[in-house]
Amino acid sequence: MKAEIQTFKNVIRETAIYRSNTVASFLVILVPILFLLVFWNSAFDTVESIGGYSRNQLFAYYLLVVFLQDVLLIRVNYEISGDVRSGRLSSYLLRPFGYIRHCFSVFMAVSSNALLYTGFIVIPILALMSPEFFRLTPALCIGALSLLLASLISFCFGSCFGCISFWFEDISSLQTGLGIFVPILSGAFLPMSFFPGWLKGLLEVLPFRYSLSFPVEVLSGRIDTFASLNGLIIQVFWVIVGAILLMFTWSKGKRVYTAYGS
């Protein structure tokens, strides 16, 4: 555990060194949401409810998205593909500390850091708007668990994606695509209930929903306890699938790794 803890500390320290970058990272998530809130505020001028959400409920949804998006959404794919392309992976392979373990430590550190920075701003606003979030209810407990599982889903599938670099020299466009589509399909810009029926149905059977939208819906109390527990089971399923895929791509990828560029 010592190596994981030291990696964790190093990442936290790095965040403190690049202060403006850290603050800007948070604002990058906040800015589109802020504009969306202004947009929705206008939309609610003529109606009381849209897609089953009142004005306050939709605002709370987006605030939770801001809070959790930086924590949950994929980033580890950039790290892994960067290490593979540049040849930096070689130095990790020589250490008695698994590379995937290292990536996981970095991922947890970055996510914890993000929780701290965004929570500092978002939690007080949420507490003012919807104090009922902070009562110890089954929703809060299940929500916390679903958050952990969502981060594991993000990590496993993100890492698999990063491992594609073992076979393709340049996946920057794919990464860009992922950066565009995953937030959309995870419900970062629109709650799932707004999507047309065919898309909603499709997303029920894919892991995207369970990496962001599902924990947000649980925490905001929009799903009853039974459906929440059902969702948890689906999340566990996706974590297992993701982990198996990751083990497979990683072991295959290591064999074809050429240490090009080092």
Binding site: N21, V38, V47
Partner: protein, 261 residues
């Protein structure tokens, strides 16, 4: 030295470099089309539940989306590659070579990754406009298209100024990738209608960071034949931003410490 020759050579090399990774090019274009498709879908989904937002109909919002996307494509084709390169080269020390050439380093870097092939991404939005005009009877002031194009270019100039202004902060700060993403995220909100802003948000989005004007100005001219006030603000802002960014560059380049050997 002929800037024209050097710049046309840079464009030539950029195109050839893009073709070295053809699959990347096709993928990028596809992503742009799909991204634009999602924007249209987003608008359709919202307007399936409301009739208007801030006084804009679904067709007008989609036209605004087209214009916003076009502005983003033009910026991406002409400047975004060069600006990323500036930031990266300052970080790695490669900017030294730009400073050593008898060609203004800011100009050299800014136009070093022009990719005309990216203009293909404009086809989708233009087809959608044709659809809106022909199938949904959207009325446009077509004789004003040259003016619309000019105003659109002013928006691109403003994107360039913000992009460059953030990139030159890398002379001072070690890591500006998130700041770059922030200014990009901010200016990418240009597809929202101007009438939705009020109070301090309106002041911010029109006069401080004119994200509300970049796409709204040309769109309003297309739809209503003109609202000179916003266009004049955009013109003034673009001139001032170019001057200010140049000043920022010449001041901050003196702080360049060049990554060590």
């Amino acid at each position: 030295m002929s800037y024209r020759k050097a710049i046309s050579r840079l464009i030539n090399l950029s195109v050839r470099q893009t073709f070295e990774h053809r699959s990347n090019l096709y993928l990028n274009l596809t992503l742009q089309v799909i991204n634009y498709g999602f924007l249209i879908l987003f608008i359709e989904i919202i307007f399936s539940r409301v009739n208007t937002v801030a006084g804009w109909s679904v067709d007008e919002m989609q036209l605004l989306g087209v214009v916003s996307q076009s502005s983003a494509v033009l910026y991406s084709v002409f400047f975004s590659g060069g600006i990323s390169r500036l930031q990266e080269s300052v970080r790695t020390g490669g900017f030294d070579y730009f400073l050593l050439k008898p060609l203004d380093a800011q100009v050299h870097c800014s136009v070093s990754r022009i990719n005309p092939l990216g203009l293909i991404a404009l086809i989708g939005p233009l087809i959608w406009v044709a659809f809106l005009v022909s199938q949904r009877n959207l009325h446009l002031s077509l004789p004003l298209i040259p003016v619309v194009f000019f105003i659109l270019c002013l928006g691109v100039v403003i994107r360039y100024s913000f992009g460059l202004g953030t990139a030159v902060l890398s002379f001072l700060l070690t890591k500006v990738s998130a700041l770059q993403s922030l200014q990009s995220a901010l200016l990418n909100q240009s597809h929202f209608p101007i009438s939705m802003y009020s109070g301090w948000m309106r002041t911010f989005a029109i006069y401080m960071v004119p994200v509300a004007l970049i796409a709204n100005s040309p769109t309003l001219i297309l739809l209503e034949g003109g609202t000179g006030y916003y266009s004049i603000i955009l013109l003034l802002y673009s001139v001032l931003s170019v001057v200010f960014t140049r000043y920022l560059y010449t001041t901050l380049v003196k702080k360049y410490t060049s990554a060590s050997s």
